[in-house]
Point group: C2
Chain length 469, copies 2
């Protein structure tokens, strides 16, 4: 399994930083310095000279190679940690089996291999299922609770990569997603058959904390839909649809199961996260699925209208843009680019230090949150996707320029060049705030999603350029 | 009303920074630079030379003057904002009355004076009661919701200062506490007569958010007990006792009214904040009250035992120390100083930049919270009280040294020399993180409490010195 050799490779001046992973990877990518790409934004003109045209194509290739290298790094590093954890689990299981064998005369030794482990632990020892997400800078476990947001995201992302990116069609990735999915089905719900899920559970699945939100349930839905897409087992899709229908019921009919107090809507502020999440889930379920597209068409429209009532937000903008793209609605597209991409970029980007603030007050007061000036990895990921998507749709060089600006900042500041993967939380001046690689919210999701999407869009841009020759 | 002239005043080398308040204050305090006090910790020995002895007494006087100046600043500045708000409210009320007069033939003009306002709005216009707490750096209102934690704290603190500090026995302070207290009684509870209180309400008292905690209710109790102490109206004390009894019921019998899910105790981690808060309330109600001392003796013991099960925490240490002091329990006192004062000081103090981290992981992992390295004003206030109390109890110079070290940092970093009062939230290197003077949690509470307590302890230390002459 070799990544594509990047066109325009210039040798080893700046070798791919992914290659010291102890995984069967070989990589000859030329990952040149981000600064080489700054000029790109100026290049897309209606009429370009041949030299500029060539530079642009080369630039896009370099960008693509850059994102490709990163796509490889994130999920495979998480997988490595996951497999390590699985192997330790298998050893613990063997020890348990060995101890138990005197009583039940089962063969005491099983090879500590992944497949054997899956076969074995799918029957019993559910405490070995599902991943921990709290990994320190170098991958050490610092919290033995299991957090259902990153778990749902990880299960979904492993399946999606397996399904949509050829070089990730690996048995171990799919295998690692399976016990996580089963853990979710068995332990995510607090009081089954009621649908409300926990936020965190002990390693053997006892609920510890429940949030009054719908995000555990949302990523549960995403994981189940992806499990169905790779396995074609209908029980997964049933889980996804039933959960999404319940989420919609909470949002639009009766929220009492979430302990949302009935007066919470007396105040005129309305959460943007809820319709954004719903639009994300609708996108997920509708993908190449006519039945679901029909089923959730009205919900999709509802989500779009709800989001449009808000002033701005880039993450929501990305989903709206996807929606406009699917519908071929250029008016919505232009509105989204102005209001949900450019406006929040200009108000949220810190011109002095670079990077996005986590919170800005719409009237320019100081936000309530102490961590308002922290730089979080995931909005930067979402912004990269949104602006590259906007550029791809419109050809507007201003959008490409911002994409490159944000990419440069993100690759320079968030990457951990020693222990790999990305930091998630920086302080204002770009220094590391939390050195963790995984936590209550950060798992294997935003990075690989962003990298895979950017790589794909850049690939399509290159293809378009080739075709128009 | 003049503050005491500090003995040993050396003139105007470093004039008191409180004096430019537009309040009827005159101050001749010599507020020397904090660094002059560092040497103090070294001075308390079993046998001291006369010169050292005099230096120490002078040092304590300087320290006392320093805290006195600050005590004056915080509550009076908040009061000034409050009165400004009251006056604006009165003007709005007058306008309303004027408009209404055509219909009901009431006299249209009332003087915009505080007393008239209280008389008038206590009958109607409840949206004018209770203070807003969200004040920007220079006192401008940036959020029109009312937050019940800072409101309860402010009502309680105004009454306490009125009651216990002679120079605060001012009608306007007591007057400002009254409408706040009435607002709490009328609007804090979400569904009266049920006791659960909101976290935030609109300006006219409609609940907006309810937390699954007991802190709104705790500061409600504190405010009511203080209202009773200054007015002797039993309805306030009834409110306090009934609320505390309900809080105890939630904590020890049935928490379902807080929406604490029943499995939340399956995980072995237990919150330190709950027993600390309860011990604080027991202290409050027991103060010079034999009946309450008896009623809550068992709860006090329960709180102490619960806290002692935890590893460390300075805020809890302060309440334990008060408890040890009241009981004359020197064994508990020494245990508390080692485990709840010195241990957290050494693990929580940032030797490089100064100041306390907000969160530290007991196993030295990176804490979950993004804002873990922020410096918050209130723990610094609590630490000053705790260490000065410890020094006063033991005479150990190491404790005095830490008290001075923390005071120096706090006075240097948290004070806003331009718009007065204290910032609440700094980043790691001491720069301002949030410039607000009041917010969801910060109101008129920790600063004046700390200053008044330190001033009082320092005064007692000086008196002791005088007496032993």
């Amino acid at each position: 399994m070799r990544p594509t050799q990047a066109v325009g490779s210039t040798g080893s001046r700046s070798p791919c930083r992914s290659c010291d992973l102890t995984l069967p990877l070989q990589c000859g990518n030329d990952v040149t310095q981000p600064s080489a790409m700054v000029a790109l934004g100026k290049l897309r003109r209606e009429r370009v000279l041949l030299a500029e045209y060539e530079a642009q194509v080369k630039g896009e290739r370099v960008l693509q190679a850059w994102f490709t290298a990163e796509t490889l790094e994130c999920p495979l590093l998480t997988l490595r940690y996951h497999l390590k954890e699985v192997e330790e689990g298998a050893q613990a299981l063997l020890l348990g089996a060995s101890l138990a064998s005197t009583a039940c005369s089962r063969p005491p030794s099983l090879p500590p291999l992944y497949s054997a482990w899956v076969a074995c632990c799918s029957l019993r020892q559910p405490w070995l299922w599902g991943s921990f997400s709290c990994l320190s800078r170098n991958g050490k476990l610092y919290d033995e609770l299991k957090y259902l947001l990153p778990l749902g995201k990880q299960v979904g992302m492993y399946c999606r990569l397996y399904r949509t990116v050829e070089r990730f069609r690996r048995a171990e990735l799919l295998g690692a997603a399976k016990p996580g999915g089963e853990f979710l089905i068995r332990f995510a719900r607090v009081e089954p058959p009621a649908k409300k899920c926990a936020f965190s559970v002990t390693k053997d699945g006892t609920p510890v904390k429940v949030q009054r939100t719908l995000f555990s349930e949302s990523y549960y839905t995403l994981a189940m839909n992806e499990r169905w897409r790779v396995t074609e087992e209908t029980r997964y899709q049933n889980e996804a649809v039933e959960m999404l229908d319940r989420i919609v019921y909470w949002v639009r009919v009766d929220s009492s199961e979430l302990s949302w107090t009935r007066f919470s809507r007396t105040h005129k502020a309305e959460d943007l996260a809820v319709p954004t999440m719903l639009l994300h889930l609708v996108d997920q379920l509708q993908e190449e699925d006519e039945e679901m597209s029909k089923k959730y068409a009205e919900l999709e429209d509802w989500g779009v209208q709800r989001i449009l009532k808000h002033l701005q937000a880039i993450e929501a903008g990305r989903y709206l843009l996807q929606d406009a793209q699917r519908e071929g609605d250029t008016q919505l597209r232009d509105q989204v680019i102005d209001k949900f991409l450019l406006l929040p970029f200009h108000s949220g980007w810190d011109a002095e230090h670079g990077g996005f603030y986590s919170f800005r007050d719409v009237d320019n007061w100081v936000p309530h949150r102490v961590e308002w000036s922290a730089r979080l990895w995931w909005p930067h990921c979402e912004v990269m996707v949104a602006f590259l998507m906007g550029y791809s749709e419109t050809g507007d060089p201003a959008l490409l320029k911002i994409f490159i600006q944000v990419s440069e900042y993100s690759f320079r500041q968030f990457r951990d060049l020693v222990y790999r993967e990305w930091y998630g939380y920086l302080i204002e001046d770009g220094r590391v705030g939390l050195s963790i690689k995984g936590g209550l919210y950060k798992g294997c999701y935003y990075n690989p999603q962003c990298m895979a999407m950017c790589e794909q869009i850049l690939g399509a841009l290159l293809q378009r350029t080739e075709d128009s020759k």
